[in-house]
């Protein structure tokens, strides 16, 4: 079966298979992406992030339905954490998007982080490209959740949508540092709860303090479960999209992100090359024993490994 041909024809199975191959670091998959790379760049990527329980999946489901009403083709990558102990994962985001399962112009894929820290999985980059080639107009990436280290979404999305719920309380303090800065649009979900207005005010105040660019992230109250104000929120995302396109900032942003991606790919490859050598003949094992016994220090150990690649 020719995955590439079928992918270009819009075959869901081919797209699904391609994503699997990418997840498994299959060379064939990379080759396909290489050949079709010129077809990417059309899909608009929206990163959906926010703490667990904030309603990201339900909100993504609603936003997708709005886009579908406009006839847009939508892809959704839902990422959930892989257990560091077993290597397994429960990927349950689809449940909140049951209706969309049968929509022929929606593609939903669940992914485990598989050890990657950053809120997404290493294969998410490739999966976005696959969905782009497949023909999506919009791609949602739903991250694991927001924490200090999980900001990779910025490196992949055109618009970052941060989902919060009222009464975050002390959590707002914790997330102010750096995380607030990555959002292009804020959604306060579960707006029927007490404290929604207060939370909105707090965020606005925080944005006031950090005002720098000519773009001010909007803060919208919504209720995903009640399907309220979803159209307003989508419009705000659209506004950001238009802003980026009209000012040329979209190209800038994507270039920046792609640079990061290239560096990441190089890093990965180099590490692979070096560690392969180190693992040959148990060098790494030996060195770690010596370092533990204090007959070797970690810095010298590093030099020993690096010198292998210089050969």
């Amino acid at each position: 079966m020719n995955i590439e041909e079928r992918l270009l024809k819009g075959d869901k199975r081919a797209c699904a298979r391609l994503i699997s191959l990418l997840e498994n670091n299959d060379e064939k998959a990379v080759d396909i992406i290489k050949r079709q790379y010129h077809k990417t760049g059309n899909a608009y990527v929206i990163g959906v992030t926010g703490s667990p329980g904030s309603g990201k999946s339900t909100l993504t489901d609603r936003l997708t339905k709005e886009l579908r009403a406009e006839g847009k083709k939508v892809g959704i990558l839902a990422v959930d954490p892989t257990s560091p102990f077993s290597g397994g994962a429960i990927l349950g985001d689809r449940i909140r998007m049951s209706d969309l399962a049968l929509d022929k112009d929606v593609f939903i894929r669940s992914m485990g982080t598989r050890g990657y820290l950053g809120g997404v999985s290493k294969a998410t980059w490739g999966a976005v490209k696959a969905l782009d080639i497949y023909g999506c107009d919009y791609i949602f990436i739903e991250t694991v959740g927001v924490g200090q280290s999980e900001v990779d979404i910025v490196k992949m999305a055109d618009t970052v949508l941060m989902v919060m719920i009222p009464n975050m309380g002390d959590d707002i303090q914790a997330i102010k540092a750096g995380i607030m800065e990555i959002a292009d649009v804020f959604a306060i979900n579960k707006s029927d709860l007490d404290g929604a207005d207060k939370t909105k005010l707090e965020i606005e105040m925080n944005l006031d303090l950090n005002e720098k660019s000519d773009y001010r992230p909007p803060v919208e109250k919504v209720s995903a479960i009640k399907n309220e104000d979803i159209d307003v929120l989508l419009q705000k995302v659209r506004d950001h999209e238009n802003y980026l396109k009209e000012t040329g900032k979209l190209h800038e942003r994507r270039r920046r992100n792609l640079k990061v991606e290239i560096v990441q790919l190089v890093e990965e490859e180099l590490l692979k090359m070096i560690m392969q050598k180190a693992l040959e003949g148990d060098l790494l094992e030996e060195l770690s024993h010596q370092v533990e016994k204090r007959t070797q220090d970690p810095y010298t150990a590093k030099e020993k490994i690096i010198s292998l690649i210089r050969e």
Partner: protein, 559 residues
């Protein structure tokens, strides 16, 4: 219950016994395991003594049967006055076949009816709905309209029997149909006795047959409370259930905690809707599980009674005696039945029956031996009924009230379970009450963790299930099992077609229009639902209208 000096004496003699007698025995012959636990994994001590119950006050903590806090029973004479109602859950395929089974059971000495509905009915779909494919008549009787209900109770005098209907999300509709059937028999609503399960919160938690979102479901429930308190005063309007929570894998204390927390939520909702607590509380009833660990189960029921009485009195200020009494139905634990060596299940059910009876249940359903595999055959269900009759007439446990009271272990365990349940209820209160706790997934997570732990214990052989992980045999004896006729679906579809062509469709339209309009207001919907079913609107049509107005509950995963 002992004076200080005596207690000190016992404390020291206990230490003496423990160190010497026990110590010596252990060095010769160690105990079978390191730790001993109840069925719910609670640690069990080697021995219980007056020390464990020293703080108890008979009148304050136990009381007399029929007196606050009802630890010893809600009724002064209990089974000496009247046995518990023997109420076998039944129903399958068509109304005609179920009617036959009901008549059989009544002849065999069953004293109340219990109706099982199929899944499409429980979820408000007619037998011809797309999602009903393959499900019609499988787990209970298919009721598509008042016509089916009339057949179901044909020849059964509704003024003489009490009927329990296991129906939740569309309870209002089935109750309306029951009232309509009774009317045709010449029986007025105020004569009707029975129960509807009507407990939507546990559906979200553990059973899955929900339709509408939480708020709208609570509205229907309080509508029923209000309507029945005036028109159907002998009807138990809710059976707040712990059975399914336990089946989903919870511990005994969790079963009490989550059930009572749900109860608190219903009382809160009714009060908020303007009802006076003493007007509806007397008709609240409960439904518990009877699991394997007999002693733990007995303690559990007693703890539940005492805790609920305290909650109703202190938290809600209820004044009527009947408002403080926790009356309950019990079902033996389905999840303990094994597919391997099914006759063993008869023994399990007998033990569970003893637990429920020693615990003071008001009515009981006993499972049949073949239920790990299919719905029961006539023979199997008769044995299940006989189990209750043998316990009632031959075992002696019904000759006195609350015979296990005063046991150091039982009282100690009753106290423990009550305390653990109170802690959980406090947690749930802090989360904003049961509905919020469910939304946050707190209750579900607790249950799943217990369920997973249990499964791992069984697989590691820390917990023995006879016939499954120990004492196995080559299963060869094939039992005769009940098979539901697959043509039921076809039959029901034909019935619906016929109904729709012979009823007055204009009147149906009208009634549904009125119902829809009323659903958008705050009015009590019962009268309008009754009007609609009397015109032979189908269950699916009535629920369809409500689905339009209320929307549907959306599940989320908590794993």
């Amino acid at each position: 219950m002992y004076d200080e000096k005596k207690l000190e004496q016992i404390k020291s003699s206990f230490v003496d016994w423990d160190e010497n007698k026990v110590g010596k025995q252990l060095s010769k012959n160690p105990e079978r395991k390191e730790t001993f636990t109840t069925g719910s994994d609670k640690k069990v001590e080697r021995l219980y003594t007056p020390i464990d119950t020293a703080e108890m006050d008979y009148e304050r903590d136990l009381g007399y049967p029929g007196e606050y806090p009802y630890t010893r029973g809600v009724q002064p004479t209990m089974y000496r006055g009247r046995f518990w109602t023997m109420r076998q859950y039944a129903g399958f395929a068509t109304a005609e076949e179920s009617n036959k089974r009901y008549k059989y059971l009544l002849e065999q000495g069953q004293t109340g009816l219990s109706v099982a509905f199929d899944l499409p009915t429980q979820i408000g779909y007619d037998s011809d709905h797309g999602l009903s494919e393959g499900e019609v008549g499988k787990v209970g009787v298919a009721i598509d309209s008042l016509r089916d209900m009339e057949i179901l109770f044909d020849g059964i005098p509704l003024d003489k029997v009490s009927t329990s209907m296991t129906i939740n999300a569309p309870a209002s509709v089935l109750l309306a149909m029951y009232i309509a059937v009774a009317e045709k028999q010449g029986v007025s609503p105020d004569q009707l006795r029975g129960t509807i399960q009507n407990d939507i919160l546990k559906e979200y938690i553990a059973r899955g047959t929900y339709i509408f979102p939480v708020e709208e479901s609570m509205r229907l429930i309080t509508n029923i409370f209000e309507y029945c308190s005036k028109e159907v005063p002998k009807w138990n309007t809710i059976s707040i259930s712990g059975y399914h929570i336990r089946e989903a894998g919870s511990t005994a204390a969790q079963e009490v905690a989550f059930t009572l927390a749900d109860g608190i939520a219903y009382v809160d909702a009714a009060i908020k809707a303007g009802l006076d607590v003493d007007d509806f509380a007397p008709r609240l009833s409960f439904f518990f599980n009877a699991h394997n660990d007999l002693l733990e189960e007995v303690s559990k029921y007693r703890a539940a009674r005492r805790l609920w009485a305290r909650i109703m009195k202190e938290r809600f200020g209820a004044k009527k005696e009947k408002s403080l009494q926790l009356k309950f139905h019990t079902q033996t634990a389905g999840s303990t039945l094994t597919a391997q060596q099914p006759d063993n299940n008869i023994v399990r059910v007998a033990i569970q029956t003893l637990a429920a009876v020693l615990g003071g249940t008001q009515s009981l359903h006993t499972n049949s031996r073949d239920e790990a595999l299919a719905l029961p055959t006539e023979d199997s269900v008769r044995i299940a009924l006989r189990t209750q009759q043998i316990v009632a007439h031959e075992s002696g446990v019904t000759e006195t009230v609350d015979p296990l009271a005063g046991s150091y272990y039982i009282e100690s365990l009753t106290n423990d379970i009550e305390k653990e349940a109170m802690d959980y209820i406090e947690k749930i209160d802090n989360l904003g009450g049961a509905p919020k706790a469910i939304e946050k997934g707190f209750i579900q997570k607790e249950i799943q963790n217990s369920a997973y732990k249990y499964q791992m214990q069984v697989e590691e052989q820390e917990r023995i299930v006879v016939g499954v992980n120990k004492f196995r045999i080559e299963e060869k004896d094939k039992k005769e099992l009940l098979k539901v006729d697959p043509h039921v679906e076809l039959l029901q579809k034909k019935k619906i077609e016929k109904l729709k062509s012979t009823r007055d469709n204009e009147k149906v339209e009208e009634a549904l229009e009125v119902l829809k309009a009323k659903a958008e207001t705050d009015e009590n919907l019962m009268p309008f639902i009754i009007d609609a079913v009397k015109e032979y609107a189908t269950l699916g049509e009535v629920c369809g209208v409500l689905r339009e107005v209320f929307g549907e509950y959306e599940q989320s995963v908590i794993l």
